[in-house]
């Protein structure tokens, strides 16, 4: 090989950023900057600059005031200037680029790690007794989302299958408990394993045919599945109560001790059994502890699975489908196991959700929920358990801390998903694992 060609090869190998599709040409910076500014103005002006209003029976259009248009013009100007100096900025960036910008400190290793985990679990166990009721309630909700995030993480993060209908499994779990209870009188503890099995069955039945498909088809089919479940629940009024949902779902009991003021027939209330005064906070704390235990079990199970051949196979399959097949693994079976296991966690979470709310309706299981859970997984760094936990906490706490944020929540989720994929597809807390890479240079 001639010397020159060798050098160029080496150069291309060491900086993968250069192989990304080419930058736009800067031959006419004024023109492209002007075009970008006009584009900004069209994009903003057509949606933000005018507003449809219904006045009586007719619809009219209101031209927004100078402040809106002022902002739009300012934005266009900013885009114009940015485009003009962009070549210089990129050149400067390329010169001052550092290999890695940010990484999680590696405090978690060996004995220290176990100690930290013990401390964290201890703190979480004491937390409800020191805190007020609404905080504990919020923490319970966060735990549900953590569980959903962990379950979806198995499917999306570990096995690399994009499931957009995850909320469908959540709904199946919730309705399994609600229906078993209202028709057959099953208690929470009897229904919980059945809910898990039921969703696993649904996952299996759905996954069996569709997992042979390529990734993006899978996304659409699961999206359709989630919608079908919701439409069925909404319209099968005789069984599910339709849009009215199912009410009066009993809370979980502790060895048949109820946490209500008055126990149902045949049961004893917790405070009567122990001869203490009735305290409604006890019920909230009990639910919190239950959710915590469920999350810990989920974490442990997934942690163990990851170190079993099946977990290794998930990740191998995500990284390279064809290599896996050539090594004699059965991709459909591996995908199916990830899909089924992921679904069953949603089933447990769903049954718990039904028990906690006491009322469920198809309203709770819209596509938005799926999108929120997916956003949790994406933000946490696909595949990382710790990342998912932190992301779930952030996603549920932020709307509570800033009420006005709630309005913009989905907007920001969408934006965040795009920006994360563009800038940091490995997530904020990427999965770390011992690995070796061949030096391509």
């Amino acid at each position: 090989m001639p010397k020159l060609a060798k050098q160029t090869l080496k150069k291309a190998g060491t900086s993968p950023a250069e192989t990304i599709p080419p930058q736009p040409s800067y031959r006419r910076p004024w023109w492209s900057a002007l075009a970008a500014a006009v584009l900004t103005l069209v994009l903003g002006g057509s949606v933000l600059g005018v507003q449809l209003e219904s006045t009586g029976i007719t619809t009219t259009v209101r031209l927004m005031g100078m402040d809106t248009w002022g902002w739009l013009l300012a934005a266009a100007l900013a885009v114009f200037l940015h485009q003009l100096v962009r070549p210089q900025i990129e050149e400067w960036r390329a010169r001052t680029r550092k290999p890695s910008r940010f990484s999680v400190p590696d405090v978690m290793s060996g004995q220290k790690r176990q100690l930290w985990i013990m401390l964290a679990i201890g703190a979480l166990l004491i937390f409800p007794f020191l805190s007020n009721r609404s905080a504990v309630d919020l923490a319970t909700l966060t735990l549900i989302y953590i569980m959903l995030g962990l379950g979806l993480n198995v499917v999306v993060g570990l096995a690399g299958l994009l499931d957009l209908g995850y909320v469908g499994f959540y709904a199946v779990g919730a309705y399994t408990y609600a229906l078993l209870n209202s028709y057959l009188g099953f208690s929470f503890w009897e229904a919980l394993p059945i809910a898990g099995l039921m969703t696993a069955l649904f996952g299996y039945l759905l996954g069996f045919p569709v997992l042979r498909l390529r990734g993006d088809y899978l996304a659409i089919v699961t999206l359709g599945f989630g919608e079908i479940i919701r439409i069925l629940l909404n319209n099968w009024t005789e069984l599910t109560g339709g849009p009215n949902g199912i009410a009066r779902i009993p809370k979980p009991t502790l060895f048949n001790l109820e946490f209500s003021r008055r126990a149902d027939e045949g049961n004893i209330a917790f405070h009567e059994f122990f001869g203490i005064d009735y305290d409604p906070a006890l019920k909230v704390i009990y639910l919190y502890l239950l959710a915590l235990i469920l999350v810990l079990i989920t974490l442990f199970v997934i942690y163990r699975l990851l170190r079993m051949p099946i977990g290794r196979a998930w990740e191998a399959l995500r990284e390279d489908d064809i290599a896996c097949r050539s090594l004699g693994m059965n991709p459909t079976g591996i995908k199916l196991s990830a899909f089924t296991i992921g679904a069953s966690f949603a089933g447990f979470a769903g049954a718990f959700f039904a028990a906690r709310q006491g009322f469920i309706s198809p309203e709770s299981f819209t596509f938005i929920e799926s999108a929120i859970i997916l956003a949790i997984v994406v933000l946490g760094g696909m595949g990382s358990q710790l990342g998912v936990i932190l992301a779930a906490i952030a996603m549920t706490l932020l709307p509570e801390l800033a009420r006005e944020f709630n309005e913009y929540r989905m907007l920001l989720f969408g934006l965040m998903m795009v920006l994360m994929m563009v800038w940091r597809p490995q997530g904020l807390v990427p999965l770390k694992r011992p690995q070796m890479e061949l030096d391509r240079g």
């Binding site: 584009l39 907007l411 563009v422």
Partner: protein
């Protein structure tokens, strides 16, 4: 006889909706044909086109202009322009930077874009339904006294506009220089680039053409139904995607055929079974095709290359 007329009526209604599905489906199929990814935000582009239509019609109505054809032409111009701008920008912001990376990453980015656009519109225009009155009311009726088949003028307009769009698109793809470049890119983008085709430009153009057709569909369906809200893009996008898969994704005639078939299937379900399960039929159909013939009716079976 009445049964036949009833059936005919459902087919007419189905073809009306189906032809707009076909218009949206072309956007999916063209993008898929060239860069092999699903443009999830395409349904939202259709929604934006519908809003642009409503804004233009309402604004001109306030100025006292009532000629329906002038209104339609003006709305068409603006809706296509705005949608194209959005299609172009979406590709630049959400798809181009992730084009080289894994499929899953591009897909999540696309879904994020879809959620973003939907909520952007909701915050800007409110989540309530907005209605406009029908610009071109009336139609023809024929059949028996007991049951008459109704073919409205609007339906005829939808058929003819769709037909014109399809003819324009096919001649553009098969005859023009850019169309040839487009086909070259879909066969082998790397080779096309080596031969001096500006593939980035061709990809942008694909998105813009798809967006323009989605805007036309938005205009037609918006005027047909007379209602718009920020959430219409989700379902319409999903249906159009089903149509694209049904016909064979990547194939433009397939998208047309798939759209019409899906529209008719839906109308027949609505007419004979129940309207609640109309959407279930679309999704069920999608799952069935993917199971038994993933390459669709007119598509070629895909060979996986290593």
């Amino acid at each position: 006889m009445e049964d036949i007329l009833y059936f005919l009526q459902q087919v007419i209604n189905g073809l009306t909706i189906g032809s707009t599905y076909a218009l949206i489906a072309i956007g999916y199929t063209m993008v898929y044909g060239i860069i092999g990814m699903i443009n999830f935000a395409h349904g939202e582009i259709y929604m934006i086109g519908t809003y642009a239509t409503f804004i233009v019609i309402a604004a001109l109505g306030m100025l006292g202009i009532a000629n329906p054809f002038f209104l339609m032409a003006a709305a068409l111009l603006v809706a296509v322009l705005v949608s194209c701008a959005y299609g172009f920008a979406v590709e630049r912001v959400a798809y181009r930077p992730v084009r080289g990376s894994k499929r899953l990453i591009a897909l999540i980015s696309a879904i994020g874009m879809s959620i973003f656009l939907q909520n952007y519109m909701r915050l800007a225009q409110g989540s309530r339904d907005m209605a406009i009155s029908s610009l071109i009311p009336g139609g023809w009726e024929f059949g028996l006294e007991s049951f008459a088949v109704n073919l409205s003028y609007m339906q005829v307009i939808i058929f003819s506009v769709t037909l014109v769009c399809m003819l324009l698109l096919s001649s553009f793809i098969s005859r023009s220089r850019l169309g040839r470049a487009c086909r070259a890119c879909s066969q082998d983008a790397g080779m096309a680039r080596l031969l001096g085709i500006n593939t980035d430009m061709i990809i942008s153009m694909t998105f813009v053409i798809g967006a323009a057709l989605a805007a036309v569909a938005g205009l037609l369906l918006g005027m047909y139904y007379g209602v718009v809200n920020p959430y219409i893009g989700f379902l319409a996008g999903l249906k159009a995607f089903t149509a694209a898969v049904l016909g064979g994704i990547g194939s433009i005639p397939g998208a047309m055929l798939g759209g019409l078939l899906l529209g008719v299937a839906e109308a027949l379900t609505g007419g004979y079974l129940s309207t609640e399960y109309k959407d279930v039929v679309a999704f069920g159909l999608l799952i069935l095709i993917l199971l038994f013939r993933p390459s669709g009716i007119l598509g070629k079976p895909e060979v996986e290359k290593i």
